[in-house]
Amino acid sequence: MSLAKLGLWLLRRERASGEWRVLLLALIIGVGSVSTTGFLGDRIKRAMSEQGANFLGADLLVSSPRPIETWPRHDLKTSSALEFASMVSRGDAFQLATLRAVDAAYPLRGSVRIADRPFEAGTPRPAQPPSGAVYVDQELLALLNTRVGDAVQIGEATFRIAGVVAEEPGQLGGVFGFAPRVFLRTDEVEATRVLQPGSRLTYLYQFAGEPDPLAAFSTALKPGLDSTQRLIGSREGVETLRGAFANADHYLQLTALISLLLSVAAIAIAAHRHALRHYDQAALLRCFGATTAQLRILYAAQLLTLGLLGSLLGVAVGALMQQALASLILPDAVTRLPSLGAVPVGVAVVSGLLALAGASLPALLRLIRVPPLRVLRRDLPPLPVAAWISAVFSGSALLLLIAWHAGDAKLVGIFVGALGALVAVLILLARLALVAGRGVQRISYGPLRFGLAQLLRHRFDSTLQLGAFTLALFLVALLALVRSDLVAGWRQQLPPQAPNHFLVNIAPHQQDAVAAYLSQHRLQASELYPMVRGRLVSKNGMPIADTLPPEKRDSNTLRRELNLTWTATLPANNTVLAGRWHSSPPGGNDRRASGPAKGTQAGAPLLHSDPYPREAKASAEISVESGMAERLDLAVGDTLGFQIGDQSVAARITSLRSVKWDSMQPNFFVIFAPGQLDALPASSIASVYVPPSATSVLPGFVKTFPGITVLALDKLIANIEAVFAQIIAAIQLLLGFLLAAGMAVVVATLLASLDARQQEAVLLRTLGAQRAYLAKGLWSEFIALGVLAGLLASACAEVAMALIAHRLFELPVRPHPWLWLALPAAGALLVGLSGWLTTRHITRVPPMQSIRALN
């Protein structure tokens, strides 16, 4: 029999031993968590790559906020679509949707799958519905409580629902997008009368053809596009989405990694105990003539086998869990995603082996260097392995793992730093809690006193168990709090009669009718703000990006069109921080709230063709929100150039304002003085408070003004909440691994102390302690441990939550009394159960049998 075989033979004979089981279990948990995220990430990434050109629905896509009339000469296949938001209603139910009006050629690449019923895979069909019909997302069916074949209202036109959009290019479904999709025919948009001057529209032009003509066309087209228009090749399209996904993926991977690291702790403890129990075996084998090299092969074969077995089982668990995770994030994952890939299997197995090696090599090194003389002198300790070897082994294995998973040095730095700090804090807290436990122990009696004494005696173990379990409970609790608190906090913070609906896309001719309708139904509306969309392009004659340091150039404010308004009076909830408000005397901070500013005063429009004006006329004044000014290095006196449609507008910053964003009033980054934008097509926006008793007014409003978009804040928050809940449920699934890993640490440390505990139990039982007394003592110990972990986790979660609420979201800090009950209870249950299951036989084995076993 070869040495490796001998090792495996010994391993098989010892398979029932507790250490192997814990080691294997910890490995399965760690690898399971890593492979869950690995599999899913890989499937989504491959789905993106495999879609390729299908992702855009074309080889080349041009998006523009206004129609493009002239194109360079080409002989490519073309298709055009128009995208806009509008209300879709049926009876009293109404919902904001993203409408895409398409021609018969759409999409040029890939396919749109249309199904007859929700949750079906559907068949590829042209995206253009039959005349008088629409295709809708299955989500919309539920929201409007309707079915395929029913009629819905869009603006002033009625359409029949002819099918459900099961799949369309560029969409992986689920999380992305708040407003469900509706496909309709381009030639039927007119009939809806939804589109108003100033409506937010996106024109999508698709091109497909051979690479050379495409490249020539693209080169010819580029110089003619302005900053509001985008040319997207199929590669860039995928890259953009992949980039966004990669960020999310990193964080999921790191969450999984925490479970793996906790598993590493459990593995290290189990491996240490395994080595401890096998010093005699190793010494005996050395007596029989085994050399260090032979022992190395023998134990390495055992470890490798366990590593492969645990990793493969972990991969199997991961394969199952990723499916659950996928269906949480993408409800139709089965039909949309490619099957499991091979790469994550390799990554997970290598992670498992690396974790196992890092965690158990120090123990193994001691094992193979055990002196043979130990067979005669049991007290002889194995040769010490230099501490630095252990540290280097474990440390470098872990760092390697983290670096590999994150693939981002900065993120690794932050992660390792944060985790290190958290572990340090937890160890400190655990120590303090144990000191407090000493006080409790003094005043307690009976089995509780015995149990607490055990906890305090195994101080190192207790600290480790407490730390691991606190970490697991803390992260689980934090996530639950983030989910419930932020959304609830946001809702609660709204003043009772704050506007809860936004009315968008109000055409100039509708303003009076809308005001009349609202006052007739006694609804309080905010001021009405005219709104045009424009992109900030220059500052003091320079392209805006050139004036910024590289790290600020990626600002969202520069990439999108801003809503620009004009008003003579400073809106309520706004405060001038620098400069002076439009045309008010120098030094005066005009904070008067005013009546509706319709902004229809006549004034000379300041439109001209130079996109980078050096100076604007003195009367062209704007007020800029202070946060935006800070992000873009803007100051009072700077001249900004905007691209509005095909017009360029320049204006000088005369004031910087703070804005109370959560006031639920229409708020703006940039407010022009009246008279500067009036010549541009504008629609208006207002907010309105609809009391719960008056919600029945809304369907009537939607019917009366079908072109006006009604944004219900409640629905918006509910939407955000739903998406949030999806993502958090996914992360919570991963945290299940974390809790399991925490339990593995508890079990591993308990196993490590099992011999000592058994000796104590034997002694106590010999001295007359009843079995029930010992059992109660054990329960007391583990429940105390779980309760302590729960209390520590509650404290950590409260502090973290307070920081998040206060710093990140500016929400009031509030305590969570239930947390202080739930977490200790959960801790008591989980630690109590795992502790009792690990140690229960101590109280059951007759003392005589225990004594013989110990000998």
Partner: protein, 235 residues
């Protein structure tokens, strides 16, 4: 081994010259063995006796190459142990040296048969399983082949350990207090078995014991007093 040393231990299977073992303690250096001289020929039986702490087990460990002496020379199976490192000494022992311990040292996860199999497998013997079964039968435990040490009495465990020691056909067997954990009757039966197997295999036997009855069965006896040897011929 130097020619001079070889000349000094002709035909000795194990020999020691000026063997000393000292350990450092908090109170200074402690001499466990001092200047021990010994030569055991192939086939001889030697009992090392002495009070607790007299250095018996230390001497046994040194002779078997389980430890290195502070001073002096040891020769085992024709090799000077002082020149060999830990691994070379292990290689020298493989299949050629057997051990019997006071606490039996059976692996708890293995059955009686498997415990005997272990050194045979390690020595790479092709007929390992047959040999193990044969030796289990020799010690009268063929019926208990599938039992683990927990299911065996102390005497039975020591019989398995003896079978394990002889199974590889060693040239020398070291036994450390082989009856130390057994009652008198069982101990006597174990002694019988040990010597019977030793005689038939013509193995050299070096054992450490407190037990006069056991020591008296050996041809030679080395008595240790505070680490110094005093060899008495067999009474």
């Amino acid at each position: 081994m130097t020619p001079a040393a070889r000349a000094q231990f002709p035909a000795a299977i194990v020999a020691a010259r000026a063997l000393s073992q000292r350990v450092s303690t908090a109170d200074g250096t402690l001499a466990i063995l001092s200047e021990v001289e010994l030569a055991v020929k192939a086939g001889e039986t030697l009992a090392i006796t002495g009070a607790s702490g007299s250095g018996k087990s230390t001497l046994l460990g040194l002779l078997a190459g389980l430890d290195q002496p502070s001073a002096g020379e040891i020769e085992l199976l024709g090799q000077r142990l002082n020149d060999l490192d830990e691994d070379a000494r292990a290689r020298l022992r493989a299949g050629r040296v057997g051990f019997v311990f006071q606490s039996f040292q059976l692996l708890p996860a293995l059955t009686a048969l498997e415990n005997i199999l272990l050194p045979l497998e390690l020595a790479g013997r092709a007929d390992a399983r047959e040999r193990a079964a044969h030796w289990l039968d020799r010690v009268g435990l063929a019926a208990r082949a599938g039992h683990t040490p927990r299911q065996l009495s102390g005497g039975e465990q020591q019989r398995v350990a003896i079978a394990r020691a002889f199974a590889t056909d060693p040239e020398i067997v070291f036994a450390d207090e082989p009856t130390g954990n057994l009652d008198a009757d069982t101990g006597a039966r174990i002694i019988e078995l040990l010597f019977e197997l030793n005689d038939s295999a013509r193995t050299t036997l070096i054992l450490v014991t407190h037990d006069d009855a056991l020591a008296s069965r050996c041809q030679r006896r080395l008595h240790l007093v505070a680490g110094r040897a005093n060899e008495a011929a067999r009474a």
